[in-house]
């Protein structure tokens, strides 16, 4: 009984002194808050709060001692979320081979290219073996088709074009595709020709009614003043106003051409926005992730 009680006191003593022993002379890195498990827990929390930079700092600490592809993948995703596309691309590329995320990282690589507006490059590499995915989602191909549509490139025959999409995606895509073929462009040359015939008519054609009427009046009034001065033999004034008439007549033809170009750029911009909205809704054809505590 005596030995037992002695044994108990020793254990008790050690036990009670434990916190003090531990808390004395410790540097911050040995604090239990900085064990790899806790660093990762905290980092996951920061990541979920979209506090990416701080999350990266923690993840990097974690990766010094542990090997975890989920963490690497999340770092890349964070860069993508922050709009730092070049870094996102590099990080995704690092996971292409020998990782748990070979397919996912390629999918996200293509999504990032799309977000960064590198459409031509995206189309170019979509058939490259290095970038190809090996699953049934076909994300790179789908995004490449979408990019081709935006670039107004001839699409592959309709069968293979729609076959890789699922039913819902197919409906959205074919709607956009047919819409794209009916975009209400204005022809710049037509606009310029119209304004050559009747000053301002080209601007009416591009929908800038006020500008068209102003141009018509402007050229008309200047021309009339020039004509009037020629009749009255005020030759200097006559030539001055003739010059101005020519300048504004020409300027309006020029401006009509430009107005049609701007009109078309706006039509394109609206269409691209619509496509991006569709992609956003479909999450760029990528299934949502659930990392849990991996």
């Amino acid at each position: 009984m005596k030995t037992k009680s002695n044994y108990f006191s020793v254990v008790l003593f050690l036990f009670l002194s434990l916190p003090f022993v531990l808390s004395k002379g410790q540097s911050k890195n040995t604090s239990p808050l900085f064990t790899p498990v806790n660093i990762k827990k905290f980092a996951d929390y920061l990541f979920a709060e979209k506090d990416y930079l701080r999350a990266f700092d923690e993840y990097k600490k974690y990766l010094k001692t542990e090997n975890n592809d989920t963490v690497r993948f999340k770092i890349a995703l964070g860069f993508q979320q922050m709009g730092r596309y070049p870094e996102a691309l590099t990080h995704f590329k690092g996971l292409f081979f020998n990782s748990d995320f070979t397919n996912q990282s390629r999918n996200e690589f293509f999504k990032t290219l799309f977000l960064a507006d590198s459409l031509s490059y995206l189309i170019n590499i979509s058939n490259n073996e290095f970038f190809k995915t090996h699953d049934s989602l076909h994300v790179p191909l789908k995004l490449s088709f979408t990019a081709m549509m935006l670039q107004k490139m001839p699409l592959p025959d309709s069968v293979s074009f729609v076959n890789i999409f699922n039913k819902k995606e197919k409906a959205g895509m074919s709607e956009l595709y047919s819409k794209q073929r009916r975009l209400p462009y204005k022809d710049p040359t037509t606009a310029a020709l119209l304004s050559t015939v009747v000053p301002g008519l080209g601007k009416i054609y591009t929908g800038n009614y006020g500008d068209g009427i102003t141009a018509f009046l402007f050229t008309g009034v200047l021309g009339y003043i020039a004509y009037d001065n020629f009749r009255a033999n005020h030759s200097f004034r006559a030539w001055l106003f003739s010059g101005l008439t020519v300048l504004f007549y020409g300027g309006n033809i020029y401006g009509s051409y430009a107005a049609a170009q701007i009109f078309n750029a706006k039509v394109n911009f609206d269409f691209v926005s619509e496509v991006k909205k569709f992609l956003e809704k479909e999450n760029y054809f990528i299934p949502r992730y659930n990392f849990g505590s991996k």
Partner: protein
């Protein structure tokens, strides 16, 4: 607590953590009223025509446009537009761009679809839209002219 409800109402949708997407340092507090610097002035691009135009423009500004009120609703104003247009293209094309701009300026009905953005309180109507170069017509930049001085 009532005040708390008030505060939470005032700041419902503060974008979380975006402020920390770049590493920042302490800044000394600044009490002064910040005056929006309207730096419309063009830099010389080294060519003779551009230098002459910049000179003529400042003479015009000194004697006339600084004294006859705020007449131009556009940013950049017509005279700056002319200088920039010539710098971006050439004298003839710049003159045509200016004539078109002047006509549009005279039109009193200016729609917000045509000029969707305001800069320094004026309608943003940049030169890059009118150079007849489709690759330069950047609607994104037209809508977010944050980098434009």
């Amino acid at each position: 607590m009532k005040s708390l409800a008030l505060i939470l109402l005032l700041f419902p949708a503060l974008i979380l953590a975006q402020a920390d997407w770049t590493r920042w340092k302490a800044v000394p507090p600044s009490y002064k009223i910040k005056i929006g610097q309207n730096t419309e002035t063009e830099k010389s691009d080294g060519s003779f025509t551009s230098d002459v135009l910049i000179g003529l423009r400042s003479v015009y500004a000194f004697f006339i446009s600084d004294l006859d009120g705020d007449n131009c609703p556009f940013y950049p104003s017509c005279s700056h537009f002319f200088v920039r247009a010539v710098q971006a293209t050439n004298l003839v094309q710049g003159a045509l761009m200016f004539a078109d701009r002047f006509t549009r300026d005279t039109n009193i009905f200016k729609s917000s679809t045509q000029y969707p953005t305001r800069l320094h309180g004026r309608l943003y109507d940049p030169v890059f839209l009118y150079e007849l170069d489709e690759s330069k017509i950047n609607i994104k930049k037209l809508l977010n002219p944050s980098n434009e001085n």
